[in-house]
């Protein structure tokens, strides 16, 4: 099936593997739990089906627990009386304990550390690619900070069909900035720091191959990062309903070698006067 | 029992499992849901206030003296309705009607003062759309005003019922007055928090 198939698409970022590990681990566990329970369930259905000569048998704890005498040795502990008298019933908590242990392990050793490494911190890199992604109905504008690592300021009143993010082109920080519509080119094995913004409604920036997803909320600038580690062409999609053309809101990601990337960036920069009018995502439709 | 089955008989009956009449329990549960409603509005208020870069001070943008007057009116009406309850408890019909009428007049007074306040703001071209502060101010006081209207309707209904002998002598009547009172005090409590939150702080 190539890159995409019936299961997870190709993993193309540094943390994609960590996320995939979780997905596969949980699905294996789910399958195990389901098969075990399913087998037990079917066994019960067959063994205890109603048939002539077979009668239901009550469990021991179905009789009044008042008659169960609690051993002296444990009767002094808090709740011991209640727990001991209901010990037959409490059997049902055993599978619970197993599943809970699994979940606690998953949270402590997997979810919390990996989550904080992906979402609440940025790797400390020397020379990151700085990008600002601005979502709108129905397209993405990708704003590169360029070699100076500084994003040119945006001004709402400059927003125009020819300048969808309202970039202040007169500002010195904007001199080496490039704005692309629905297209993102990244060098491989290099951390990209992305600020995610939205001009109108809530969108969600989703690159399945990077296992990267984040809602773009108007009024917030949400930081995120990714380190692509496989060259190729991938897809940006919008994962949050954003209007009638939501399904058409997509873009391409090209991960290329550093040399290719530099060449491309220079070519964009060289043609910038002509393309000071960046590709307009809205015109795509 | 099926012959003389009477659906309202149970509301009368304090000999329930809990020892609280159905009517009173119902009113309290209704108030519980109202608590959640206003708690949500206050949460929204706090969130919007914290997220905004500046928040106006009530004395600068709203009419605090009128609001203080309204606070006094509403607290007084809370006392008059509890007096009406006391009179109903003593089976003093004239007294009940007097205090209940006072309550209704006071609550109408509250709405009139409120109308003056709103009117002055609208005249200046200020409305809910002006800023987040005015939005939350109009929404919260507006919802509170709707609650006042509901209270007036209930109280007026009770005032009318007290003039009909059949209702006045109904053992349920005192419970109804108490329920109306509970609701009215709740509306008062909401205002006790709204007043400083919007006007003073």
């Amino acid at each position: 099936m190539g890159k995409y198939g019936w299961t997870l698409p190709v993993a193309a970022s540094s943390y994609a593997g960590k996320i995939d590990f979780g997905i596969w681990l949980i699905h294996a566990a789910m399958l195990g739990i389901f098969v075990l329970w399913g087998a037990f369930f079917i066994y019960l259905l067959v063994k205890f089906r109603a048939r002539p000569g077979h009668n239901a048998v009550r469990e021991d704890h179905d009789d009044t627990p008042a008659h169960i005498s609690v051993p002296d040795s444990i009767s002094k502990f808090p709740f011991a009386q209640m727990l001991y008298k209901n010990k037959g019933e409490l059997k049902s908590l055993i599978p619970d304990m197993v599943i809970m242990t699994f979940e606690v392990a998953l949270i402590v050793f997997y979810a919390i550390p990996v989550w904080s490494s992906i979402k609440s911190s940025v790797p400390d890199t020397k020379d990151p690619v700085r990008v600002e992604v601005v979502a709108e109905q129905f397209g993405w504008s990708v704003h590169y900070a360029g070699p100076d690592g500084k994003l040119g300021p945006r001004k709402m009143e400059l927003t125009h069909f020819s300048n969808p993010i309202g970039l202040d082109l007169a500002h010195p920080d904007s001199a080496d900035d490039v704005v692309m519509g629905n297209e993102m080119r990244l060098p491989v094995d290099k951390t990209v720091l992305i600020d995610l913004l939205s001009k109108d409604v809530i969108h969600s920036f989703f690159i399945p191959e990077f296992r990267l997803k984040q809602d773009a909320v108007p009024g917030l600038s949400i930081p995120m990062w990714v380190t692509p580690n496989k060259t190729g062409k991938y897809e940006i999609t919008c994962a949050q309903l954003c209007g009638f053309a939501h399904s058409l809101m997509r873009g391409d990601v090209f991960v290329m070698t550093q040399a290719e990337y530099d060449a491309w960036y220079q070519s964009r920069l060289a043609t910038k006067p002509a393309s000071a009018q960046p590709t307009n995502p809205a015109e795509a439709f | 029992m099926s012959q003389t089955y009477n659906p309202t008989a149970f509301m009368n009956n304090a000999d329930t499992h809990s020892g609280v009449t159905n009517a009173k329990l119902g009113v309290w549960l209704f108030l519980a849901s109202e608590i959640m409603l206003f708690a949500t509005l206050f949460t929204s208020y706090i969130v919007l206030r914290m997220a905004s870069s500046s928040w106006p001070w009530g004395w600068d943008v709203l009419n605090v003296p009128l609001a203080t007057l309204n606070t006094v009116i509403l607290i007084t009406s809370s006392v008059t309705i509890v007096m009406a309850y006391a009179k109903a408890y003593d089976k003093d019909k004239a007294g009940f009607q007097k205090w209940m009428a006072a309550t209704i007049l006071l609550s109408l007074g509250f709405l009139v003062v409120k109308a003056f306040e709103y009117g002055a703001e609208f005249k200046l071209g200020i409305g809910p759309h002006t800023s987040v502060f005015y939005a939350i101010y109009f929404t919260m006081t507006g919802l509170h005003g709707i609650h006042i209207l509901g209270g007036i309707a209930v109280n007026a209904g009770l005032l009318y019922m007290s003039s009909v002998t059949e209702h006045w002598e109904n053992p349920l009547f005192l419970g109804r007055v108490e329920g109306a009172g509970l609701y009215w005090h709740f509306v008062d409590i909401v205002w006790i928090f709204l007043f400083p939150a919007l006007y003073l702080l």
């Binding site: 259905l45 205890f48 469990e59 979810a111 109108d200 399945p208 | 089955y5 009368n12 119902g26 929204s44």
Partner: protein, 574 residues
């Protein structure tokens, strides 16, 4: 008033069937209405499914019936698709399953099971139905309004919901529906607390009553926040406030005129503060029904009655603290996500305990495989799939990938459709003899059962695979995105399964109405059950019990050694 003579004069047709104050009539009104709304929601889904499987091809048969702005040349437009999606969710959740689980079953069965002659506030009960119906019709009528129905999903996230047409009617009818639910919840709580028959202590209540009790608490306390949030959104739409709108919005190239200063995420918090407890409102009553049916058909007490009850209470409490696991990637604080991750893990503990109890209850029984029991048994594995697939969604890290994909849709529908709705249908087969004194046909029931279960798996199973493939939900044209192309085949499978599922509901509908008049007559207690609803005539008269019943024991005293019969009713003294 004190000596009102309701029972003495003949009730007119309107008093008896339309504006009835009898909880049984109201329950059946709810039942029929909510089943109709389920059908409507299902029909909307059928249209969407066509577009998903065959994007861009005209809808067969019905395509040209729609106005040209909704479906030009019979091909659904993007706006129309979004309306269908939003209304499908809203109708199914707020007009279908909740009224069915709480309004219909709760209303009819709860007072009977606790031995009450009626609800605590019969007139309020009637008002509750008569606010629900207009609210629902208003919601439906939004299709006919200029601008069409709501288009922002059932979650109505602003700012989209504020700039889209159609949302005002949605918000208005939500406020009405919430009011109806609140009236119902107060009524249920007071009834359960105050109106139990002598001897019916809380610990002798059937699990179903506990489920309704916990559900009512959830409804009472979780709905008002949504009501407040809806009012704020209504203000945003009607009075142009900016509760949910930040500064400097530029919508399709035009600056939005508004003061700004609002918070889009505030709506999400308030919405999910309701909507997560709402999920448990959808699940707990059906679970109660399953417990009733399983206890009855295994002919032995439930394993762990107390564990189940405590689990339900724990679920009820915890359900208020897990809502933001719907918001892990919404831009919410990443550290707070860890808090909700932990609470989500905690809530899975009582849920697993409940399921374990249901399975363990089979052990040692003498299992009768009648139609209601089949539905109850099918609930267990299907709901388990729904529950298990919740695991990777509740875990922050894996949710990054799976959030807003078809995996979520598959998970949710396994829980609600092949969980709740299957159980609720089982409830219909189980209590039908009580409602009409007649039994539903078994053969048709079997066709309905097997058809529904298999086709449901055919709809929702593929969604899980599509989700793993990265297919986003709410896409008008899934083929517009490259990574969806390989999984598009699953959409076709799901669509045909959905149409088959529709076909398999025909025997159910026929069976229901046919059995109402021509079904096999049944005695008072056809299932040899122990709970109180079977101790009164079928159908019960106004006032329910001939004389107030006295309760002597717990709800599930089956197969008590040394007794002639294998069931010992709660009302039997010896």
């Amino acid at each position: 008033m004190a000596h009102d003579n309701h029972g003495h004069h003949e009730l007119s047709f309107t008093e008896r069937y339309v504006f009835s104050v009898d909880h049984k009539v109201i329950g059946l009104q709810y039942l029929i209405t909510s089943f109709l709304f389920l059908l409507v929601g299902f029909a909307l889904m059928g249209l969407m499914r066509w577009q998903l499987a065959f994007p861009g091809s005209p809808i067969p048969f019905f395509g040209h019936l729609f106005p040209a702005d909704l479906a030009p040349n019979g091909v659904m437009s993007g706006e129309f698709y979004n309306s269908l999606g939003a209304m499908h969710g809203t109708i199914m959740v707020f007009l279908g399953v909740v009224p069915l689980a709480v309004g219909a079953y709760g209303n009819y069965v709860l007072p009977l099971q606790i031995g009450a002659p009626d609800m605590a506030f019969p007139r309020m009960n009637m008002m509750s139905y008569w606010t629900y119906l207009p609210g629902g019709l208003l919601m439906l009528s939004s299709f006919l309004m200029p601008g069409g129905a709501a288009q922002s999903g059932w979650t109505s996230y602003p700012p989209l919901s504020i700039i889209n047409p159609g949302q005002t009617v949605w918000l208005l009818s939500m406020v009405i529906l919430i009011t109806s639910s609140l009236l119902g919840a107060i009524n249920f709580l007071v009834t359960t607390i105050n109106m139990r028959a002598p001897g019916m202590s809380l610990w002798r209540m059937p699990v179903f009553c506990w489920a309704q009790f916990v559900t009512s608490v959830l409804l009472l306390l979780a709905f008002p926040p949504l009501e407040a949030a809806s009012v704020l959104q209504l203000m945003d739409r009607v009075f142009h406030t900016s509760f949910y709108l930040p500064k400097d919005l530029v919508i399709l190239g035009k600056a939005y005129a508004g003061s700004g200063g609002g918070q889009p995420l505030l709506w999400q918090h308030l919405f999910w503060f309701l909507a997560h407890p709402e999920v448990y409102v959808l699940v707990l009553p059906p679970m109660g029904i399953v417990a009733e049916i399983i206890a009855n058909n295994t002919r032995k007490p439930l394993h762990g009655y107390k564990t189940m009850v405590f689990s339900m209470i724990a679920i009820g409490v915890m359900s208020f603290m897990v809502w933001a696991h719907h918001m892990f990637i919404s831009g919410m604080s990443a550290s707070l996500s860890n808090f909700f991750l932990v609470t989500t893990m905690i809530i899975s503990v009582p849920s697993v305990a409940l399921m374990t109890c249901l399975v363990f209850s089979l052990k040692g029984g003498s299992i009768r495989f009648n139609v209601p029991m089949l539905f109850a048994l099918a609930f267990i594995p299907l709901f388990a799939i729904g529950g298990l697939t919740g695991l990777p969604l509740g875990l922050t890290v894996t949710d990054i990938y799976l959030h807003d994909t078809y995996y979520v849709i598959g998970h949710f529908h396994f829980v609600v459709v092949s969980g709740s709705i299957i159980a609720l249908m089982g409830g219909t087969y189980y209590w039908f003899p009580k409602w009409y004194g007649r039994k539903m046909n078994d053969k048709l029931g079997l066709i309905h059962f097997w058809g529904s279960v298999i086709t449901m798996c055919g709809i929702f199973g593929p969604m899980l695979f599509m989700g793993l493939g990265g297919a986003s939900r709410r896409l008008y044209d899934p083929t517009a995105q490259l990574h969806n192309l390989p999984v598009q085949g699953w959409n076709v499978v799901a669509t045909y399964s959905a149409y088959l599922l529709a076909l398999f509901q025909i025997p159910f509908i026929y069976n229901f109405f046919n059995s109402m008049w021509r079904g096999e007559k049944t005695p008072e207690n056809p299932w040899q059950a122990t709970t109180l609803e079977w101790a009164c005539p079928s159908p019960p008269p106004h006032g329910n019990f001939e004389k107030t019943p006295t309760v002597y024991r717990g709800p599930y005293e089956y197969s008590v050694p040394g007794r002639k019969t294998d069931f010992w009713m709660q009302t039997d003294k010896n």
